[in-house]
């Protein structure tokens, strides 16, 4: 069990900066994020986009801002549980919380700060009838274990890097017995190298490239055994297959957050603006994930909210200690050993 002072759900810019502010108060943090790397939307969606409203930076690329924040927080040695989604928050004795992820990893702390942004990133599911009936029965949205596809017929759908790279992987490593790549357009968006490789493999007959087409139906008795593919010209074929892997990227959803007994309004968590606490004592919500009258979904607002929230967290953990605000210009930054 991972034990800490503050569990931060969400390792985006606000979560990372909160580590720094907590560290100034000598509070340790551990962050949980469903993505495999910290940075949230900034790293996952728009790393190269310049941001113009971060105080002190006339312009800074999103990815670079995350790097700077990680550097700023590093002295306080945050722990990270990445590639896992926080699923439950349970209250246990001594005013502690246990946050458990979808992989069963448990974290214990007296304080939880939800810095979940727009929500946990989950795979986008194409609007195909019966899709959910075949989940884990032939339909997968993430390839966790490529060996699962050994000697199987696979239909991959999508036009981006994920679809291209997995198609290449399953063919070059002689895993799939047959691989078809279905895409709605005639051209692909991914890295030029990957696109070229797919084209080469298609020319050699190793990838069955089906463009200007979409998977529109699934069939099977319990397990998937065929997909219906409709071409732009209206014609339709049925293709026998063992697996259908739609790779259409990720989208953020409130997901498990909506099951934690918090007050939700317009897909955001209502908070008390005195300290950004939620209706559950000891649980705070900061950044884009929260809402209150006058809320602006700006990174800089999240920075402020995290700063205020950790002061409240300190008072909650140490009700008998008086915290005196110390300026970093006076005290410096005393990192953890």
């Amino acid at each position: 069990m991972i034990e800490t002072d503050i569990i931060i759900i969400g390792a985006g810019p606000v979560g990372i900066f909160t580590v720094f502010e907590a560290g100034l108060l000598k509070l340790r943090c551990h962050l949980i994020d469903s993505l495999p790397q910290p940075g949230g939307q900034l790293t996952e969606i728009y790393p190269k986009k310049p941001i113009y409203d971060i105080p002190g930076y006339p312009t800074v690329d999103a990815g670079e801002l995350i790097d700077r924040l990680m550097e700023q927080s590093a002295p306080f040695k945050p722990g990270f549980t990445l590639g896992e989604s926080a699923v439950t928050i349970d209250e246990v004795e001594d005013n502690q919380f246990i946050v458990t992820t979808d992989k069963g990893t448990k974290h214990k702390a007296p304080i939880v700060m939800i810095a979940g942004g727009l929500g946990v990133f989950q795979p986008r599911k194409p609007p195909v009838a019966n899709l959910e009936n075949f989940e884990d029965n032939g339909v997968e949205y993430i390839i966790k274990d490529p060996e699962m596809y050994q000697d199987k017929r696979v239909v991959v759908a999508g036009g981006g890097d994920s679809a291209l790279d997995w198609s290449i992987y399953l063919v070059e490593n002689e895993i799939a017995s047959e691989l078809s790549l279905v895409h709605r357009r005639s051209s692909f968006r991914g890295h030029l190298d990957s696109v070229q490789k797919v084209m080469d493999l298609a020319d050699k007959g190793k990838i069955n490239l089906i463009t200007e087409a979409e998977v529109v139906g699934l069939s099977g008795n319990g397990s998937l055994n065929a997909v219906d593919i409709k071409h732009k010209d209206g014609s339709q074929i049925t293709k026998e297959t063992d697996h259908f892997v739609p790779l259409f990227g990720l989208k953020p959803t409130l997901g498990p957050i909506s099951t934690w007994g918090l007050e939700i309004e317009k897909n955001a968590i209502k908070v008390d603006t005195r300290d950004y606490s939620t209706n559950r004592p000891g649980i705070y919500a900061i950044g884009d994930v929260n809402t209150y009258e006058g809320k602006l979904k700006l990174i800089l607002c999240g920075f402020h909210e995290g700063t205020i929230a950790v002061q409240s967290a300190f008072a909650r953990i140490f009700p008998d200690k008086k915290n005196v605000l110390k300026y970093t210009t006076v005290n410096g930054v005393n990192g953890f050993e």
């Binding site: 969606i45 727009l118 194409p126 609007p127 981006g160 709605r184 990227g249 979904k297």
Partner: protein, 109 residues
């Protein structure tokens, strides 16, 4: 109608038409106008052409500027895309689109 204002017609997902007045001097785009009138347009990415939740179908004859690579890339991975699909956040509010008719695309995830 006030100066520097145009009217855009948005057909929502129930088929109801909304006639919205939009200012031409505030650098707004269609997605922002829809959201300011509380129409169900998510605009998840804030207007960066990075989510396609503002996808709409151009139903009038208005000629729009050519789509950027970013917009085309985004529509590439969206669902329910038709030949007349556009991203609302990439359509700027100016006199040239006065009277435009746009239909909101289904919320395909």
């Amino acid at each position: 109608m006030a100066e520097n204002t145009i009217t855009i017609h948005i057909i929502d997902r129930e088929g109801v038409q909304h006639d919205l007045e939009a200012p031409t001097d505030m650098n707004m785009n269609v997605m922002e106008v829809c959201r300011s009138y509380e129409l169900p347009v998510e605009g998840r990415c804030g207007g960066m052409a990075m989510c396609a939740t503002c996808q709409c179908y151009l139903e009038s004859d208005h000629e729009l500027p050519e789509q950027s690579d970013d917009e085309l890339d985004m529509l590439d991975e969206a669902f329910f895309v038709e030949d007349n699909s556009r991203l609302g956040c990439q359509i700027q509010i100016n006199d040239s689109i006065d009277g435009i008719v746009l239909k909101l695309a289904p919320e395909g995830n």
